[in-house]
């Protein structure tokens, strides 16, 4: 008995390993994608360092004699605190032209009632508004304070203007949202074990492949062969996941929760779900293998997209508006479980996700079983 198990196991393993291109893409693709993500996002955290905004200034008589001139010059000085890169023009038409050509983000004209002109609403424009607002407001504050009590000129109150930190951020999310992208990548890689699920089913079904026909007439029990094939597929994919995990944590330095055992558990169950999903698709649909693979890829991509892989935040919107969709999306469940390990101190959410996947596995397996049950073919 054991030797038969072993025989089938080794054979299936050989089949997978010999299919060099599948192997390459199962192992290499997640690593390539992880590297790409890392490259693309590596700078987001550093782009908190903001670059100065190009501001146009209509250098008319009113401006030259205004109070704000000194302020603008101060914040335009090169150095760490530079806010503006000023371009001085002599009249409003020139400023409009520069604005239209996108050489400046907005311009300031103290002579008109409309102080600031911009072309769009965005981060740079907001900075202009905020800085100019602050100038007028803080000027006002200083005047108020001096008028209230002349002693305030000397007692250091004026130094407090624009100086002071009042908020203390106690959220422990140090790495930003970036980790979620990598978690979705793990979720997607778990689904890849479905490819072996598809081929496993194809290989035992007489009406789907010649190999299937041969296996159907062999004395070995079809169910046994299927289970062993699924097992080998699962094992190979799990190894690929382990490699990905070590790459992410060891080399790229992505943060995960601290409980490694639970992380491995969710990855294993995720893999299992992928295998079941693959065999489910394969047993349900009577199509050529190429088409099944195409459909499976489409489904996996959709699941990944809905888990927030390409666009930040989609998973939250779905959780809020269509929670059922979040519950049947295995990529999302794996991502959510990993994130809850990272973010929460308690494990409630994590176990909820594990049970969720368990239910999905059971449902998919039952349906696959019903589709693949003992088939009788005519003996000719």
């Amino acid at each position: 008995m054991i030797s038969m198990f072993w025989d089938i196991f080794i054979t299936r393993l050989k089949i997978i390993i010999r299919n060099k291109s599948t192997l390459f893409w199962t192992f290499a693709f997640p690593l390539i994608l992880a590297t790409l993500f890392n490259l693309a996002f590596s700078n987001i955290l550093e782009s908190e360092k903001f670059s100065p905004v190009k501001l146009g200034i209509v250098n008319n008589e009113e401006y030259k004699s205004s109070d704000i001139k000194e302020f603008i010059e101060a914040v335009s000085q090169e150095g760490d605190n530079q806010i503006f890169i000023p371009t001085y023009v002599s009249n409003e038409e020139e400023a409009k032209e520069l604005l239209n050509d996108n050489k400046i983000v907005g311009y300031l004209n103290v002579a008109t009632e409309i102080l600031i002109n911009v072309k769009a609403s965005g981060l740079d424009q907001t900075i202009i508004k905020y800085t100019i607002d602050s100038y007028y407001q803080m000027n006002n504050v200083a005047n108020d304070v001096i008028n209230y009590d002349l002693a305030n000129l000397h007692n250091g109150v004026l130094d407090k203007i624009n100086n002071g930190n009042y908020f203390k951020n106690i959220t422990n999310e140090k790495t930003n949202n970036i980790v979620i992208f990598f978690y979705t990548l793990i979720g997607m890689t778990c689904m890849f074990s479905g490819f072996s699920g598809i081929s496993a089913v194809n290989d035992i079904e007489a009406n789907l492949s010649k190999k299937g026909a041969r296996i159907s007439i062999s004395p070995a029990h079809k169910g046994k062969i299927l289970l062993i094939s699924l097992l080998t597929g699962f094992l190979v994919q799990f190894v690929a996941l382990l490699i990905l995990f070590f790459y992410l944590t060891g080399i790229l330095g992505i943060q995960f929760g601290t409980n490694n055992l639970l992380i491995l558990l969710i990855m294993a169950i995720g893999c299992l779900t992928g295998v079941c999903l693959g065999s489910f698709i394969s047993s349900l649909l009577k199509l050529k293998e190429g088409h099944k693979i195409g459909i499976f890829i489409a489904i996996t991509l959709t699941f990944s997209f809905l888990s927030g892989m390409m666009v930040q935040g989609i998973n939250y919107i779905i959780e809020k508006n269509v929670p059922l969709l979040a519950r049947i999306n295995p990529v999302n469940i794996v991502t959510d479980a990993l994130y809850s390990l990272y973010y929460y101190d308690t494990l409630d959410r994590y176990w909820f996700n594990i049970i969720n996947l368990g239910i999905i596995i059971i449902v998919l397996s039952i349906i696959s079983y019903l589709c693949l049950r003992r088939k009788r073919y005519d003996s000719i």
Partner: protein, 384 residues
Amino acid sequence: MIVFKNYLKVLKKNLGMFIGFTVLFIGMSLLYVNLGNDPVAEFTSSKPYVSIVNRDKESSLIDHFIEYTEKNAEIIELDDNETVLKDAIFYREVSFIMIIPEGFNDAIKNKELLEIETMSVPDSSSVYLEMLLEKYLNIVDVYANSGMTETEIISNINNVMKKEAFIVIDSEVNVSEFDNVAFFYRFSNYVILYICVYLVGFLMSTFNNSKIKRRNLVSGTSYLKINMELFLGNLVFALSMWLLYVVVSIILFGNIMFTINGLLLILNSLIFTIMSLSIGFMIGSFVRNKEAINGLSNVIALGFSFLCGAFVPQAFLGSNIVNMSKTLPSYYYITNVDIINNLTNYTINNLKPIFINMGILVIYTIGFFLITNIISRLTLKKEN
């Protein structure tokens, strides 16, 4: 035109899958446009969701602070419970929480401002709000230290906050309205690349299956003619995909697609589609395995998209990444989308970079075709 007809036959046979993929990607694009737009800090944008937890007693100053916050945000009531607060942040129900500590009011009477603990969502749409609130607290700090009483502080703040610079958004093409269109076309970098590389590659690998290829070669039709007809078939396919995508954008965004900016975007995407087609053609001619084609198309589509600024805007990518991505054709496509997005003055100087980038895309296309021809000729020789 037999080869061409044959190509269409193969296409028809696989039509289900192609339609499926197309619908899928257009669906993704629609979702992306509707949900992915999260402006980081815009003074005309929608208000972020915020919660204020007050652990001190009620006071007119705190009330005033809450009122001021309400002018710039939507306030959500949350219980003062760590799990509740953490959950609210986790599920993005609020982007910012402030916890006013006990004794806050008394401290102000002693000219001191206690630290307010905050929790925030990292990607935050509440960055601007935080800046405004810190400015408010700074003003309270200064006033408190100048000797004012609570009532005086409140009335003075009211006066100060009225002093806002008058700002106007002035443009014929509303650039912000066009942002959505640009978003859609940036995402199309992924869609067009994936569809062209995967599906064209898929179709071509059918024809390049060596048995079929040998039968074709032995036939009376010249090799060049076969290649040309295959290319024509691919062109028909790619152009219909492109047309569909453009039609969807017209339905979504309406007349804005017929402005100069819109038309430039359409032209830009046409050139890009043909370029992607050349990549798909190239891949299909020397990769046989269907799974390998799938893997390659994913790597190319996702890779080009991430590195060249389709998902994460170019402004946020590191400078060395941007330099590296200049070797990829998508860089020029996306740069064009960005330029067209902000274009309001249609002078030659402003249009020149757009056409130069389009020219570069054409050069890439020619390059890929040449490579395909050279390699297929080499493999032919080898097989002979």
